[in-house]
């Protein structure tokens, strides 16, 4: 069933009347901003566009498909509620200004998702990014996100962060103010999303299969949904229904 879901997406487009977005401007649309920092920042072309396209088709969110890139010292960083840092190789240290700005951004309600897009076996980014995170948020340490976290139920009911790789089943985060301003995944989620103009996937999934790619999309959609709805799915009105469905799946 899941294996054919992406195919169905295209079919469904023809059946349903397309939801027309009349947002008052590009700034008001939900979109992804990449942190232009380190060697991986531009390494996943068309991934954000594809993800946001899927978001627009599967959810009611009005999206800005094209991502934008901002440097860590750029004041425009403070205009983007969802910031994604694609990283590989050494994560360069931030300047003092950048560190201060990102810290301010995170404490003001911004969300930074760090996606380790290193090739299998390359631990350089993982090692260095942990140091960068410590510098950005000295008072807390990265912790493993438990399975009850809203990001696993913000739209799809999933149980881990999926991506092009299956490097780690765990998602890590810094918790603050009942939210997770920093989320760190190691499975190259955005690597699974990029598609060429001709419709081919730009990168293969490992170990592979369309199910893995679909799961990566679902995690990506949940990430976008979490960035807009925050802990909405933890509201009491949802809790019982979600519990019931999770139990159903467990059988």
């Amino acid at each position: 069933m899941q294996s054919c879901s992406l195919g169905l997406t295209s079919l469904a487009l023809a059946i349903y009347k397309q939801h027309t977005a009349y947002a008052f401007g590009n700034r008001e649309k939900v979109g992804i901003t990449f942190l232009d920092w380190g060697e991986g920042a531009h390494a996943r072309p068309r991934s954000a566009e594809q993800l946001m396209w899927e978001v627009s088709k599967r959810t009611s969110i009005e999206v800005r498909e094209a991502p934008i890139w901002v440097g860590p010292e750029d004041p425009k960083l403070l205009e983007s509620p969802l910031l994604v840092w694609l990283g590989r190789g050494e994560a360069p240290a931030f300047s003092e200004i950048a560190q201060e700005r990102i810290n301010l951004y995170l404490r003001s309600g911004g969300l930074l998702f760090i996606d380790d897009i290193s090739p299998p076996g390359d631990q350089r980014f993982d090692r260095s990014v942990r140091q960068r995170i410590k510098e950005l948020w000295p008072e807390s340490e990265l912790k493993v996100v438990d399975e009850d976290h809203t990001i696993f139920k913000s739209f799809f009911l999933i149980n881990q962060a999926h991506g092009r790789l299956l490097r780690s089943s765990q998602l890590e985060h810094i918790g603050f103010d009942d939210l997770s301003p920093i989320l760190y995944g190691r499975n190259d989620t955005f690597g699974a999303l990029g598609r060429s103009p001709t419709g081919d996937w730009l990168l293969p999934t490992l170990p592979g299969g369309s199910v893995q790619r679909e799961k990566a999309f679902r995690f990506g959609i949940n990430l976008v949904m979490y960035s807009t709805c925050l802990n909405y799915k933890r509201d009491q009105v949802h809790t019982l229904e979600i519990l019931r469905r999770r139990q159903f799946k467990a059988r």
Partner: protein, 778 residues
Amino acid sequence: MDTLLNTWLNPPSNFNQLSLVWLGSWSTLSLILVALLCLATLGLGWYNTQKLNPMRKSILFILRILTLGLFLILFMQPAARLEEVSRVKNHVAILVDHSRSMNLPHHDQNKDISRVFQAHQSLKNAQTTLKKWSKKDHYIDYFSFDTHLNAHDHQLELVNSDPSGNQTSLINALNELSTRIPNQELAAVVILSDGGEWTASGQIDPPLKLMSAVERLNTPIHTIALGPKTPSLDLSLAEVRADDFAFARNAVSVDVDIQVHGHQDALSCRVSLSRGTDLLSERIVDFAPGQTQSSLKFEFVPEETGEESYTVYIDPLADEQILENNLTRFSMRVIRDKIRVLQVVGNPSWDQRFLRKHLKKNPNVDLISFFILRTNASVQVAAQDELSLIPFPTQELFEERLGSFDLMIFQDFTYQGYRMKRYLPLIRDYVKRGGGFMMIGGDQSFSGGQYAGTAIEDILPFYLPPNGKNQVQLGEFTPTLSSSGMRHPITALSLVPEENQTLWQELPALEGNNKVGKLKKNAQVLAWRSAANGQTKTPLIVASPMGKGRSLAITTDSIWHWALSPKAIEHDHGSRAYHRLWSNAIRWLIRDPALNPLQVKADRDRYRVKQNLSIIAQSLDESYQAIAGSSITLRIEDISQGIANAKLITEHRGKSSENGELHFSWQAPKEGVYRVLARSTQQGGEQEAEDLFVVAEDLAELKDPQARPDILKAISQHSGGEILSIDDSWDSLQRKAPAVTQVNRREDIALWATWWALLLAVLIPSLEWALRRRWGLS
């Protein structure tokens, strides 16, 4: 000696006291020196007569003693003191209890004779005795007492005053008596009372303090106990405990303590709790034989906010004498526990994200959010169980639970597609009944949400242009405050208007807005999108009263930029402005009483009858600035029988002062629940505000009106006084005699300055000298 002197001197009759005094005012040293000199002289005289025979020796020694004695008399200057003295009268204090319980019957059988009447009667009976005392040794001082001692010039004044004290304090009465009359001047105290030591919280047993006060007086205290010897049948509300305020839709409890006296057999009574005239609950309370106390708890759930009067009442028993203590009134202000907000969002967006975060962080907000995460147009590629979506419970939200919300927010949400049309009139009615409604812009709001021509348009502050997705204006802009917006509580980012305007000018730019139609009557535009690029200015934030409710329209979905943007974050005021705006909007929409342009408040919630109360009304304009000279009418109504049966008691009209205030002082003539209703006409619109207060006597004494002769008995026994009945004679009452005398005239007669004293002073030494010469001594 005095008698001898009296016989000898025979003083004039106008002197009634005679005594021997010494007028010589020598120092102690002088006296010692003189005494030593006399002893030496005596010793020398004895030594010089050694060769004489014992007879002659004794004669000379006696003469020497007499000589020295005479010398000492002349030295000490003795005198007879004649005095005319008189005694100073001391005081007999008569204390009559004038607390309210003294109005209760003295006998069980005869309800016409009150305790105070009997006390006054007893005083009249003692009139002869009191006259006798006052003639000779005592002044008679009359006092009444309740919580304090009150002096009366004469008995008639005391008898003519009514007992009205709300509490009895024997301790205070005795302590204050000792400050009025010095203890040494007190001959006796007579107390006529039904006993008891009362405080605001009820009667207490005779404490050590009372006995200390008795001891301090150091005077016999005689007591006459009034009131029935055995308790009379009486049910009373000993205590009703309820909070001053409660939370709407939350259970409230009222604790009631009931006392019963004078019953031998088991009995039952009915206790009820009413709000206004509406009976809320009633309970039957059973008392076993001998049981004197029982407690019960009423619970109810107030649905609406506001202040109401409540009454707890015990149905009187057939033979019950005292009915005043069967009823207690109190007022309770019902407030919101939390502001219940329903946020319905058409699609997840940054604007919704930041508003939800603001609402969730506000501890006073109980937020129910419903976000449309997927529409019919969305592609469904996952099974329902793989999604976290739940159905949109329209019937539950907009019909069954509609009344439970204080505020409803439609944020970029269209009703179409959810079979909601039939609920729209219900939402309109909910707002007109007092609910708050806010529509926030977006392509699915206003005409974009197809609301033109629906019941929702009725509760918007403006008319809507024809439905359609193109009713929007794009482009960035900085909003401009209107003149109303400069002072309106919603747009008041600062209390200083000039500073407020500056803050608005410095806010991050917004983007895009919905087009709207003509403003409705009473709508106030607080902020505009200024005219630019050939476009006309359009309302951005518009507020309007809507029936009893309120409506607010914000025609953009980009206010989140005030929460997250370089300007908002890096300038201190930015993010604060975002939170201030929403907090202000919510408070205004839920009709936070503190934001009502007309305010009225009595200075207390509870008064006694004829106690001065002060009412202040304040009139503010639409910009919440004080209006001077505004006509304000204050109506004070008795609503003891419910608001529907309100009786106008008094009305006061006046103009507000420079600070918009009108002051009114008044005294409630009788017990009851009162409402002060303020009305003013401001700029064409009538404003109304109200406050409630209860006027009730302090019934502390009547909660347990039984006489306490045991307390009076303890006082008498401790002070050495007597316990009298009302018919006993006062003649033999023990009194301390006056201790102080007064000397009116005094005269001293010098006993040494007489001719015979001088003669003896010459003769005796001469005789001694002659005999010494004759018997061969030098």
